[in-house]
Structure formats: C-alpha cells, structure tokens
C-alpha cells in the first residue's frame, strides 16, 4: 500500500510472467449431485484486476469462495500466493491472512463498534498492539472516508457506509489479494457509487482483485480482464472492451442483452 504504481508498470507486471497471485487448475465442485464448478482454469497475476460476471447460479460466488476455502473444492488445485489449499490448517490460516474478502451482505460484527470491527483481526490474528491497530484502522477508515463513524455500531450506518467499513476491515489485515462477492448487490442505487469509488481507488493502488459484480461500468473502468461464467463453467474471458463489444458465444450475447435491458 502507499506506493503509487504507474499504469505502465502494472501492465508490464501483468504481461511478464511474475509469480501468479492465484492459480485454479481443473477445479471441480459439487453440491450433492449438482455440479457447480466444472473444470475451472484461471490464473490471476499479481496486481491484476479480474471481474467475474454471469447469470445468477452460474458459480461465480462459489468460485471465489473456494479461493479462501469458505467452500471446499473437490477436484483440482488451487494455489494462492504459492501456497496450495489443502486440509492443512496452517496453510489455510496463512492464506486467509493474505486474502481479504468483502461480502454482499457486509457481514460486519453488529456487537462491535466500527473501530473494533477493524481492529479485531489485526489484534488477534496479527498480534498487533491495540494502539497500533487503532491507528491503522483510523488510517483505512479515513481512506474510505468515514473516520467520523468509528465509535458507532454497524446498525447505525447506511448500507453504503457499512460496505465501506467492510472494505476497510479487510484492508486492515494488509491483504495481498482482495475478493469481492457482489459488493454492491444489496445496496440502494444511490449508495452503489460510493462503494465503487472506494474499489476504484483500491484498484489504482495496485491491489490484486477478483470481483464478482454486474456493474459493467466498473468492469470497463478498472478490470484488466473480464471472466464470464455460466452453469459452472468459464465460457469466455478477455479484456472488457473486447468482451463486451464483441462477444463470441451466444450465452454471453444473451447475458449482455439481459443486463443491458435491465439497466
């Protein structure tokens, strides 16, 4: 964080084969007899911003939830920052420390204040002194532009503010990768922008991001790559302009026509 990474530098990082942040190889997953992820192959480079879109029930959320093992995959390999996800709990702890997640329903801890929400993990997981954790939390709360709410409880904030706190909470662990699971889907229209602005700012800092979203404007603005999923498969992927203006498959054409009509 902090150091500004130029666009040129970033682009080169994406193009040269630096150690990938996330690798999914032949990942399969079933819920009972339902095949929710089919042979997923995806490599995300350090600093790359990937937007995942697709109709509901297409496995987008399940895929990114596999990356920090909120869901377990049953076949294939997932490697995060060089560590493979297995049943080894220590590997899992190491990965979860490096991977921040933002949920559709915010999932702030309602019994803790905003500040406590942000300092909890640094204090207990990173063993950071309380004072230092609070300074760090205030720094990130300032960056998401709500430092004045620090003493309030989540229930006293608007949806957009809560989601920005959730982003700050994840950032307080200083993650290398951020996962966003439909971060704006539960928000009223007038609050979507404030959350997207925060995410754009994060992208400009060079954070590796995977974002499940239907916000095509956001995808065009920040994504290096858009991945389109349908029925558990990655159907198409590519640069946002190319993908949106020149879809190759009928499924993507159908999806694009539906979301454009919706807007």
């Amino acid at each position: 964080m902090g150091e500004t990474v130029t666009e040129a530098h970033l682009a080169s990082a994406v193009k040269t084969n630096a150690k990938p942040a996330i690798v999914l190889e032949g990942v399969n997953k079933w819920f009972g007899s339902l095949h929710v992820l089919r042979d997923i192959n995806l490599t995300v480079a350090q600093g790359e911003r990937v937007v995942v879109c697709g109709p509901s029930g297409s496995g987008k959320s399940t895929m990114i939830r596999c990356i920090n093992r909120l869901e377990q995959h049953q076949e294939g390999r997932i490697v995060v920052n060089g560590t493979e996800l297995t049943d080894d709990l220590r590997a899992l702890d190491a990965i979860r420390r490096e991977v921040g997640m933002v949920f559709q329903s915010f999932n702030l801890f309602p019994h803790l204040t905003i500040l406590e929400n942000c300092t909890l993990a640094p204090i207990w997981v990173r063993r950071m002194p309380k004072r230092e954790a609070e300074e760090l939390a205030m720094e990130y709360l300032t960056r998401v532009r709500i430092p004045e709410q620090a003493k309030k409880y989540p229930g006293q904030l608007s949806g957009g503010q809560q989601q920005r706190v959730a982003i700050a909470r994840a950032l307080c662990m200083r993650p290398k990768i951020m996962l966003f699971d439909e971060p704006t889907s539960a928000l009223d229209p007038e609050m979507i922008k404030e959350v997207l602005d925060t995410m754009v700012m994060l992208a400009a800092d060079g954070m590796t991001m995977i974002c499940v979203t239907h916000e095509m404007g956001f995808a065009r603005q920040v994504a290096d790559r858009v991945v389109f999923m349908d029925r558990g498969e990655i159907v198409e992927s590519g640069e946002p302009e190319a993908l949106f203006s020149n879809p190759q498959t009928d499924r993507l054409k159908l999806f694009l026509s539906q979301i454009l009509r919706g807007h």
Binding site: F103, L108, P110, H111, A121, W124, V125, M173, E190
Partner: protein, 381 residues
C-alpha cells in the same frame, strides 16, 4: 436515474412546520378514555375488575396486617397459640414466623452458630451483586469467586480457625438453596456452552456424545436423577467410600441444568446468520477466537430471556432435593410447622418462604431485563 434520486422531494413547495399531537390524543385522561372506557363493554369490565381489586386488597391487608398476630404469650417454654387459632382465617399468625424464622432460614444448623450460615447468605448476595456489575466482567471475577466460595466452605464446615465443625447433615435452609443453585448454575453454564458447541461440531464422535448427553438427561425427570444420585450411585462405589449426599445432589442438578441450558445456547448459535461465521473465518480468526469473540457474544445476548427463564426455573427446582432428605429452604419451612403447637399455620410459613424465593427470582428477572436492554444497545438505531 441519478438525477431523479438527487432532487429533493417536493422542491419548491414550502415544508409544513411540524405540529405537536393534539391534547385530546395524549395525556392520562385520554389514555384512560381510550383504554379503560372505550366502549360500554370495556367500561363494565373496568368497573368489575376495579371492584375486585379493591375488595381483595382490603381483605389481604386486613388479614396480613390489621388483624394479624405478631407474637404469642409464653407459659414457661410453651407458646400459647390459642389466640392464633381463634383468629384463624381472619388474621395472619405471623408469630409462627417470628418464632421459627431461624429454623426456616438455617434448618438444623447448631443454633449458637447461626451467624455462620447468615454470613454465608450475605456473602452469596454480595457475590451476586458484584458479578452483576458489568465493570467487573473480567479476570477479577475468577479470584473473587474462588475466595468467596472458599470462605463460604470454611464458614459452613468449620473445623478450622476455632470454628466448631458442623457436618453436612446438619446444614439446612436458605444456604442449601443458594449453594445448590449457585454451584449448579455456575458449573452448568460453561458445560452447556461446550455441549452446545459440541452439538454443532463437525467431528461425529463429539457431536454424538453431546447429543447423547442432552437427550439422556433431558428424557429423565429431575426427581429420578436425584433418586439415582442418592440411592443408586452409592451402590457402585467401593465399600467404605462415601461421597457427600449434598455433592451427589449437586452433580445431578448440574448435569440436568447443563442439558437444558445447552439447548438454549444452541438456539442462539442457530439464530446467528452464516455470514457472521464466514466473515470471522475470512479474517483468519481461529475456531476459538471466532467462537469467543464473534459467535458467543452475539448468540448469548440473543438468548438472555430463555437463559434467565431456565436459571429461575432451576433456582426453584433445587427445592426438589427435599425428596432425598436434604434440608433446603422449603423443606425447612415444612418441618418448622411439625411441632404440635404450631400445626395448622402452613399458610403463613409458605407465604414467607414464597416471598424469599420471589425476591431472588424477581431480582434475576429484573436484572436480565436491564442486561438485555444494555447489551442490545447496538441493535437500536
């Protein structure tokens, strides 16, 4: 789209100044007109109930205070209870309570040592009050409880510091009720939390063990558990070994309360949205950190009303130990009126014993309401 939402509603139209509610809609007279005399039917009910309440109140005050007999004359050592019998049904005979209060409170504990169980009761109350203050909800509670309970043990048993030894068989009354319920709930509560967590464990052996415990204990009446503890359990012990009867009853009550509390705690765990677990996991918290910092603080707040309900239930259920011959408050009250001179004055004694139970239970209930309001502040907007 965004333009629409940004323009303030009714721009151009001057906003009406807020008005206060009309006087006829608020205030006590309006409230009474609305709630007590809304129709001829509710007026009739109001009048009938008012008449009954006034009549019964007057009747009770006459019986309990105006016509009550507070003491009886003595002939030598014999109380002359004839005047009480003459007033039976008209006035209460509080003389029986005045005469027997020490027996009701402390049972067969040696009379000249009664200051010890009295001090024990005060220590218990002090311990409750101290533990109820949220400022002290930290590690200081542990030494305070250990020291207080040790002092209570020393006071009850004696045998050290020049205090004469009093065997457990002679303990009785209020201290027994407080000992059984305090130890019972203080041990059952942590047990219940572990069992509730165990029932949701992914490890099948732990889960089965917890289910088995809850279902077995819950499926048996407390009385039969107490019988088992007092009659059957000693049969399994080697010759000459004897575990204190009170301790056996204590274990039975603790296990029983644990099973019930576990289900209450589990209800709280079920009520939490999955997102809370996931957010805690995604932040890298370990199982015990997640449970201790995120899950339990929220789950227990949710179940304060049923928890206290169970607490109050078990406080009163300790009186069931009378069937295995332990002298708790209720048994002591019952025994106090066995003496021929005082036979027939059960109402006065049971009203008194009931009042003592009521004080403790009402305090618990009131405290839980405050606690609930205080701890759920975050849910208010």
């Amino acid at each position: 789209m965004s333009d629409l939402t940004l323009t303030s509603p009714a721009s151009g139209v001057p906003e009406a100044a807020p008005r206060t509610a009309p006087m006829r809609a608020v205030g006590p007279i309006a409230w009474m007109r609305q709630n007590l005399f809304g129709s001829w039917w509710s007026t009739a009910v109001t009048l009938v109930l008012a008449y009954l309440i006034v009549r019964w109140t007057i009747g009770f005050v006459e019986w309990a205070f105006a016509n009550a007999i507070w003491s009886v004359p003595y002939q030598g050592n014999q109380p002359q209870t004839q005047i009480c019998r003459d007033m039976k049904g008209v006035g209460a005979c509080w003389a029986v309570v005045a005469e027997k209060h020490r027996f009701i409170l402390f049972g067969t504990y040696p009379f000249e040592e009664h200051w010890r169980p009295a001090l024990v009761c005060l220590l218990f109350v002090g311990l409750y009050v101290f533990s109820a203050i949220r400022r002290f909800w930290n590690w200081i509670l542990v030494p305070v409880w250990v020291v207080t309970l040790t002092v209570i043990g020393i006071l009850m048993w004696g045998g050290v510091f020049g205090l004469p030894y009093v065997p457990q068989e002679r303990w009785g009354g209020l201290p027994i009720t407080l000992i059984l319920s305090t130890f019972g709930l203080a041990l059952a509560f942590p047990l219940a939390i572990l069992v509730a967590l165990g029932r949701r464990s992914r490890m099948p052996a732990i889960k089965m063990l917890c289910v088995l415990y809850v279902e077995l204990i819950r499926g048996v009446p407390l009385i039969s558990l107490l019988f088992m503890a007092s009659v059957m359990f000693p049969l399994f012990l080697p010759e000459g070994m004897n575990i204190d009867k009170l301790l056996r009853a204590q274990v039975a009550i603790t296990l029983f309360a644990g099973a019930y509390l576990a289900e209450v705690v589990r209800a709280g765990l079920q009520a939490l949205p999955r997102g809370q677990y996931e957010a805690a996991e995604a932040l890298g918290l370990s199982y015990w950190q997640k449970t201790g910092l995120i899950i339990l603080p929220q789950a227990l707040r949710l179940v304060i009303p049923p928890l206290v309900n169970t607490f109050i239930g078990f406080f009163k259920d300790t009186s069931l130990v009378l069937i295995i011959g332990i002298f708790d408050l209720l048994t002591a009250g019952k025994t106090a009126i066995v003496e021929p001179a005082w036979q027939g004055f059960g109402v006065e004694v049971y009203v008194t014993v009931g009042a003592i139970y009521l004080v403790f239970c009402f305090a618990m209930s009131k405290y839980s309401q405050d606690l609930e309001r205080e701890l759920n502040r975050h849910r208010r907007r």
